[in-house]
Amino acid sequence: MRTTNIARCGWLTLLLLLAGHALAQANLEVNTPAIAALQGSMQTRFTVLAPFYGNGAVGLTRDGFVELRDVNAVPLAQRQQINGIVAAENQDRTALYREIARANGKPEWENDIRATFAQRWINKAQGGWYFQNNAGAWTRK
């Protein structure tokens, strides 16, 4: 009797472990204070960047960053700031990819996460925005 109980207990443990395992793979951890802070900073910056995505001054690169691709599309008054804005955005993006990898205990995933984001940024970009295709050429969506 007791042996069967122990055996059952063992199976239950195995099942729970398997379930936990499956659950761990279903989602990536993104709810950390560091990730939330980066997200907030990028969201605020988006109000400044949005017109530049729209007029093609700034485009989405194929490696998950943004790039100033047409400085002539930036109004004179903002030309001095635009480089700083693009640099700050890329800094946040680098930190975001690293933080997601770290939050999941897999720092070595950073490049895979960046590649995933690169695809998703482009996929979710609005019509008219510019992005780099697989060959690196600027393309209008």
Partner: protein, 62 residues
């Protein structure tokens, strides 16, 4: 009977380790889901709270 407990313990330990080793591969689908969630918020593609703010303040203005 004691050996059975030992075996069960050993089995769970092995399985736990299996989890650690199996998890090395990159979970592409999960990463895509996580990316979509973050991008939606950064680019505000799913607005839910924002429209409520102007409508609640406009009656006060009058």
């Amino acid at each position: 009977m004691r050996s059975l407990t030992v075996y069960a313990g050993l089995a769970s330990a092995l399985l736990l380790q299996g989890c650690v080793t199996i998890n090395i591969y990159f979970p592409a689908a999960a990463a895509e889901k996580a990316a979509d969630k973050i991008i939606d918020e950064v680019w505000q593609l799913k607005k839910s709270i924002e429209p409520a703010a102007p409508s609640s303040t406009s009656p006060q203005a009058k």
